[in-house]
């Protein structure tokens, strides 16, 4: 008798925590994910759907009766004028990404592998420091440097070199963007380079690889996900930036971000077309992220 209840109760006791376990296994993620989920739903998913909705009404303006649904806004994007604007935005974004990668990799490599370990955090902080100021301020600084009578030309003049007219050109925009977003690239590359398995480099050296071969065949493949992530981040944020093109780009500085701005806060107030442009931008960025998840993560798992 004393045994049976206990033996009877034992499965009950074991089954009840297992139900509770299963329940908590269900509830826990819900509880953990709910705040972020609600946040995403209310502030990302629903607004994006609203933008999509607006983008499907050609020529929608606030305060006017919306017309019928249609694809007119999206068709308008293929107007050569608008394609050229998108082409320029892509040129700025790709140019910035390449410059950031070329400048950022050696810096991240040096900080992660060659600098004295106790200085590393300090060096990183120093590198990220420019991000603490407003991007507007940084671009204004570049105006001061690049304008015809600015700092750059005073320096060039002092050492007897011909003055450069960089302000109000595409080059100035890429300089401004690269300066602004380089720290992101360095941070991400640093995180990736820090995890580098140095034994593989030693093995490569033992097996007769010279420094260049070891770098190209061991270091670069291992940091490829970092390179992809950093490039993608820089690409995305420079695609959406309009402060640098606006302040540094001169008379031919129209970018997709500015075009969208003009549709909402400019004279035309064509929210429908602006939303369609926004959807294209969202789509391009999502596509880039999807590519990163597909190819970037697989490499990380293979370590």
């Amino acid at each position: 008798m004393a045994v049976s209840p206990s033996s009877a109760s034992t499965p009950v006791q074991t089954s009840s925590p297992s139900i509770a376990n299963r329940l908590s296994r269900l509830v826990q993620p819900l509880l953990l994910l709910a705040p972020a989920g609600v946040w995403l739903l209310l502030l990302l998913v629903i607004p994006t759907l609203m933008i999509l909705n607006i983008s499907l009404i050609p020529g929608l303006r606030p305060g006017e009766i919306p017309g019928a649904y249609g694809l007119g806004n999206f068709l308008r994007i293929f107007d050569p004028i608008n394609l050229r604007v998108m082409g320029r935005s892509l040129y700025f974004a790709i140019g910035t990404t390449i410059i950031c990668l070329l400048l950022g990799f050696p810096v991240a490599y040096w900080i992660a592998l060659l600098s004295p370990p106790r200085w590393r955090n300090l060096l990183l902080v120093a590198f990220v420091l420019p991000l603490w100021t407003s991007s507007l301020l940084r671009d204004y600084a570049w105006i001061t440097i690049l304008r015809p009578t600015g700092v750059l030309n005073s320096l060039l003049g002092a050492i007897g070199l011909p003055p450069q007219s960089l302000l109000n050109t595409g080059t100035a925009v890429i300089i401004g963007l690269s300066y602004s977003f380089l720290p992101y690239m360095v941070l991400i590359l640093y995180a990736s380079l820090e995890k580098l398995d140095r034994r593989l480099l030693e093995a490569a050296a033992d097996l007769g690889a010279n420094a260049r071969q070891a770098f190209l065949k061991v270091t670069v493949p291992q940091t490829l996900p970092g390179i992809a992530a950093g490039s993608l981040l820089v690409f995305i944020i420079s695609l959406g930036d309009f402060i640098a093109p606006e302040l540094l780009g001169g008379a031919s500085s129209m970018t997709i971000a500015r075009l969208i701005y003009n549709q909402f806060l400019g004279a035309t107030r064509n929210w429908g077309f602006g939303s369609a442009l926004s959807m294209i931008l969202i789509l391009a960025v999502s596509l880039a992220i999807a590519l990163l998840l597909k190819y970037g993560d697989r490499d990380i798992e293979s370590y």
Binding site: P62, R147, S165, L167, S253, M254
Partner: protein
């Protein structure tokens, strides 16, 4: 910035704007005091405070404190930097707190069409008859039925006298001296002002809706492109002082402000005419405190109050009685108060209806070429 945003000096300059935003914060800090039970114990807090949505440089502490001293109403001010940004916020429902808004002329017309503004009860306003004739029955709001004009100015060319020879007198100067200006000219980042100026140079109206005229203006502007450093409404000030720029399209208020710091800087209203802009006070339909709004309008319609504000803030007033109170130096400043024959050639920017899309298309084309 592409928006036809215009008006006096500082409000479009980023640094001053941020200063204004800070002062907006400072003003916003008045809120707890407004709700202070020490005030009107019976009334609701909203009767003791007046929320104003305005360009940044139409206030200073003195103006606000003298209003509060006179009426007991405290001001909570927010600033905008373009008419379109203001309209977008109001239409999105973010303007419900404001009892006074400061739209410019063409925006008043647009807001009337959108049914956003209260028709003013003229029996509650004193001193409208003191306005200059030109503002008694403005095109954008016949008989001032919805708005009270409060400041005005012109668009023109700003240049450095010592660096530029000959001095510009008309828009044509830009094309004639194109080789000299090569990359050292800025025009506004505002399609209507820029296209309007080119239209004027061709002898057409600033507000043309004729596609052929607009296209002719676009082609003429394209010719000028190599001379244009950039399209900026406010970014030219430092660079014209340093000599990086030779000529800039500018608002009279910006030019007057800059000329006080750099005496070499001059301003000219092009002979074939330019744009004449007016900023007004309106009461939105959603105004929580119309009583306070009328009190504010009456306060600024009083000649002595308007004159003191002009002396400190350097904008032109349409109030004849206030102009009479100004010092001769200000009153005779031709940039601040241009002669009637010059003003007669200027036009206010007016909505162009469906042609807006055409303007916008040419603008995208010119800024992406």
């Amino acid at each position: 910035m592409n928006a036809p945003s215009r008006s006096p000096s500082s409000r479009r300059r980023f640094l001053q704007f941020s200063a204004a935003a800070l002062s907006g914060v400072a003003l916003a800090n008045c809120r707890p005091q407004i709700a202070d039970p020490g005030g009107n114990s019976g009334g609701s807090g909203s009767q003791n405070s007046l929320s104003i949505y305005s360009w940044s440089n139409y206030f200073d502490d003195e103006l606000l404190s003298s209003f509060t001293a006179e009426t007991g109403i405290r001001i909570v001010a927010d600033v905008f930097d373009s008419n379109e940004a203001m309209l977008a916020r109001v239409q999105a429902g973010g303007g419900a707190a404001y009892s006074i808004i400061y739209p410019s002329d063409y925006m008043v017309q647009q807001m009337i069409e959108l049914d956003l503004l209260t028709e003013l009860d003229k029996s509650r306003l004193e001193g409208l008859d003191r306005l200059l004739d030109q503002w008694q029955n403005p095109v954008y709001d016949p008989n001032n039925a919805h708005s009270v004009p409060t400041t005005w100015g012109t668009t023109g060319l700003v240049f450095s006298r010592s660096r530029l020879n000959p001095a510009p007198a008309d828009w044509d100067f830009l094309w004639e001296q194109q080789s000299q200006l090569n990359g050292r000219l800025t025009l506004f980042n505002d399609v209507r002002e820029v296209m309007g100026a080119v239209l004027k140079s061709l002898g057409f109206s600033y507000n043309s809706t004729d596609p052929a005229q607009i296209e002719a203006a676009y082609n003429r502007l394209r010719e000028l492109k190599p001379a244009i450093a950039s399209f900026t409404t406010d970014g030219w000030r430092d660079q014209i002082v340093t000599g990086d720029l030779l000529v800039a399209m500018g608002y009279s208020s910006d030019a007057i402000d800059l000329a006080t710091e750099a005496p070499d800087i001059e301003y000219v209203i092009p002979a074939s005419g330019s744009s004449l802009w007016t900023d007004t006070m309106v009461i939105p339909k959603t105004a929580p405190n119309p009583e306070g709004a009328y009190a504010w309008m009456n306060f600024l319609l009083k000649p002595e109050n308007a004159a003191r504000a002009v002396e400190r803030l350097k904008f032109a007033t349409p109030n004849q009685a206030a102009i009479d109170l100004l010092s001769p130096e200000l009153r005779n400043n031709k940039n601040l108060f241009p002669p009637a024959e010059v003003l007669a050639k200027c036009e206010g920017i007016a909505p162009v209806g469906a042609a807006t899309e055409l303007y916008d298309r040419y603008w995208t084309q010119i800024t992406s070429a």
